[in-house]
């Protein structure tokens, strides 16, 4: 579904992705973790070409991201993206946030799009907020709407870039729950997160990055119980007891 082959990316002289090889199969949930500045956000942003790569090959859902023939807008319509800061459209109601892309890009009739949006809102537990505006919602609610907005395009892949990092602790659970439910439906997901509980329970694989390099790639239990690389050991130790 997603295939990185020897991918490199530089920001000026900074080597942010260094020879990345990764294959995400259909229906797989992959969690990417690593210290800040490790390149994990850049990695996930290359998948829908919010960041272009400089070298190597990257194919997503059969489309070659380096080919000029690839219709980027079509690719992006198939790939849902959930941001750390939610990025809902503040001038539109919750319902319009969700129906905008389906009606304008997929040309779904308005009534049908609204019915689908209501089903999605029920799924994320926010049907009563259909007419609210983003600023009237809590962070956790905004993020759930953002997930519903991405799902409204019926994507084949969902990308999550630190979806709970901007949330108050008591709101993290509600968002992770929605993501876990989504994983159960067989959605292909790539999730950048520090939520190790989520990684342990939901991920099929955990990828650990540092300095633009994938250092480890393992099943969750294996990664948590027996990390191979020193940097991974250190990272996990810090996550579990940040005071030391």
């Amino acid at each position: 579904m997603i295939q990185f082959q020897n991918v490199h990316k530089w920001f000026k002289t900074l080597h942010v992705l260094n020879d990345v090889n990764l294959h995400v199969k259909q229906g797989e949930v992959v969690v990417v973790c690593g210290p800040s500045g490790s390149g994990k956000s850049t990695l996930i942003r290359t998948i829908n070409k919010l960041e272009p790569i400089n070298e190597g090959h990257l194919t997503v859902d059969g489309m070659d991201l380096l080919s000029k023939k690839t219709d980027l807008n079509r690719l992006r319509a198939e790939v849902g993206f959930v941001f750390q800061q939610f990025n809902l459209y503040p001038h539109l109601s919750v319902l319009s946030n969700i129906t905008l892309a389906p009606t304008k890009i997929r040309k779904t009739p308005k009534k049908e799009a609204e019915e689908q949006a209501m089903q999605l809102l029920e799924r994320v537990g926010l049907a009563m907020k259909r007419d609210a505006y983003p600023t009237q919602l809590s962070g956790g609610q905004q993020q759930r709407v953002a997930i519903a907005r991405a799902l409204a395009m019926k994507p084949r892949i969902m990308l999550f870039d630190e979806p709970t990092s901007a949330l108050d602790p008591e709101m993290i659970g509600e968002v992770l729950q929605v993501m876990q439910d989504l994983a159960k439906t067989g959605m292909t997901m790539v999730v950048v997160t520090h939520e190790m509980g989520f990684a342990r329970e939901v991920a099929d694989r955990v990828v650990f990055m540092d300095h633009g390099v994938i250092l480890e790639e393992a099943q969750p239990e294996e990664f948590f119980l027996n990390p191979q690389h020193d940097r991974a050991k250190q990272f996990l130790k810090q996550l579990l007891s940040p005071m030391h």
Binding site: L50, G80, Y89, A101, K104
Partner: protein, 234 residues
């Protein structure tokens, strides 16, 4: 002190009143055409200036600097006295068949004001977090569609106060059209003064009407902002 008999009746009824009303009608038309045209053109120029394609950005910059930095009166004279020498014959014929004075004044007002509006809208666009564009592009919208559905609607909301200023300027600047013979309000007030020697009354009437026009524009924009653009805030 010169003894002067105020005679307000001449401007509240009769021939002179009709002149002023006909002038007001043309001022309203010129302002309406100007505001709509300048806003649309301003939007286009603002988007061009934000384009990824360098020549388009340069084109927009040249346009902005040129039309912002030359006097409106010169631009009106240019379109009225000079443009027919460079415009294609078909355009000239069309212009001659319409009301040429009105058209020249409208074109000058639209182009001149659009340069200011474009800069206001552009600063509005720049104040929208770049993540909004990322969210729109991630959903599969093209650059222009992202602008249309997500960025511009937000930018225009922020731009309302400076836009009102530009609209007010345009309505008042429309008085310069009298210099090329457009029979708008100032032209008619001048006429009334010439025929009646009642300059005080004539120009007081014109002043009051311009004031009412400006206040109406401010009121309507305020209403639009509250009822249509920001219904969640009221």
């Amino acid at each position: 002190m010169l003894k002067y008999h105020f005679d307000w009746s001449i401007i509240t009824s009769g021939k002179y009143f009709e002149w002023l009303v006909s002038g007001l009608k043309i001022t309203l038309e010129l302002s309406a055409v100007g505001i709509v045209g300048a806003f649309v053109l301003g939007l286009v120029i603002a988007v061009l200036k934000m384009s990824n394609f360098k020549p388009l950005r340069w084109l927009a910059s040249v346009y902005l600097e040129f039309f912002r930095n030359t006097p409106l009166l010169i631009q009106i004279f240019f379109w009225y006295f000079g443009s027919y020498k460079i415009l294609p014959t078909a355009v000239n014929e069309w212009l001659n068949n319409t009301n040429f004075e009105f058209a020249a004044a409208a074109i000058a007002l639209i182009i001149y004001t659009s340069a200011f509006i474009a800069e206001d809208i552009r600063s509005g666009i720049l104040s929208i977090p770049k993540e909004q564009m990322e969210a729109a592009r991630s959903a599969g919208f093209s650059f222009l569609r992202s602008m249309q559905y997500i960025i511009l609607p937000q930018a225009v909301r922020i731009t309302i106060p400076p836009l009102v200023n530009q609209f007010l300027n345009l309505a008042k600047n429309s008085s310069l059209a009298m210099t090329i013979g457009v029979m708008e309000l100032t032209y008619q007030a001048r006429q009334v003064e010439s025929y009646s020697f009642k300059g005080f009354e004539a120009f007081t009437a014109a002043t009051v009407v311009y004031l009412a026009l400006s206040v109406s524009i401010t009121f309507l924009m305020d209403l639009y902002n509250k009822k249509v653009l920001n219904p969640q805030r009221s």
